[in-house]
Symmetry: C2
Subunit: 175 residues, 2 copies
DNA sequence: ATCTTTGCAAATACTTTGCAGGCTA
DNA sequence: TAGCCTGCAAAGTATTTGCAAAGAT
């Protein structure tokens, strides 16, 4: 999102808007938070201010967000970037967050609500992500299970060039 | 593969062995290479010594391999690590290599033979990878296409704990 | 009281970039 | 020859680690 990327992600992102266009009804935001908090409480991890802040953020915005983006969206006094990294890692470990990979060497996370397992299409040009409301990995997970694996998870991302960027590109050629 | 990883990866890898256990018949190695070379020749890219060396490597070993691993396996005089990075990127761009993502912020690549599109299960503990001879992303790619995306690709990796590592872990607990 | 978590600073690891010279088409 | 490629050195950027102080149960 910063190296060879033509369109920087963070800068181009409206923080008040879900990056992947996923609809997040206002009324369920707190429900999601309560549920997440319950999971955290029941885990061996401690319920700290930073973790609560991070869970609140993820309950309200769909993501996926990188550590840096999370840190930027939290109140200035919330916590250190290092703590964000550590929190994301530990919250992923207890299954509260799910990691996404947009191929730019940056870990991104979103709330791992059981209700709604999905993936994204990421535009290779503008790096915007949209939700794909479906997951097709069941068969692969079963295959892995039959090979003796346990605690199975997966990541899956689809990449392409979105209509808007394709049009922009052909505009440029017309010059 | 080096950061929070309990088992180092590169060091633990036998370079003479395909990391994901994929069978690579001796006789087709050169066939794969010839085919790749043809693609490279027909591309706008130039046929250079480094690129040939890298394609030879990928034709003989299944991978996936990181830039660093590739560099380590090439003859000492073959080329600079920077060149490996650049070659992997350009060979991916013309579709000769395919990127895999094992979740450790390291790009890995394998030969993108049309014959055999597949994915991997990666053990979260020992980081060994095995092939899953199947791909379930067609439906998602179609969905992305219907949303206006073009030049669609995807990545997909399954993670778990392999039987061996699970046993080792329970051995430790028994202490 | 104990064990976890945090902040800060510093270190790592992977990847990219600039530039001059070498090589391919 | 013209333009792509490469090597080397140096920079970035994301992420991790060490350690002492602060916090959670």
């Amino acid at each position: 999102m910063k190296r060879a990327a033509p369109a920087p992600g963070k800068a181009s992102r409206d923080p008040g808007h879900d990056p992947c266009g996923h609809r997040h009804p206002e009324e369920s935001s707190s429900v999601r938070y309560e549920e997440a908090l319950r999971t955290l409480t029941q885990s061996p991890l401690r319920v700290t201010r930073s973790r609560k802040a991070i869970l609140t953020l993820f309950s309200g915005k769909h993501g996926p967000f990188s550590a840096d983006e999370v840190h930027g969206m939290l109140a200035d006094t919330a916590c250190d970037l290092v703590t964000v990294y550590r929190s994301l890692a530990s919250l992923e470990k207890i299954g509260l967050l799910r990691r996404c990979d947009f191929g730019d060497n940056t870990h991104r996370f979103e709330l791992n609500t059981g209700e709604h397992h999905h993936h994204h299409v990421v535009c290779r040009v503008c790096h915007r992500a949209e939700t794909l409301d479906h997951c097709a990995a069941d068969s692969l997970e079963k295959m892995a299970a039959s090979m003796g694996y346990s605690q199975i998870t997966h990541i899956m991302e689809v990449f392409g060039v979105c209509a808007r960027c394709r049009e922009n590109a052909s505009d440029h050629e017309r010059h």
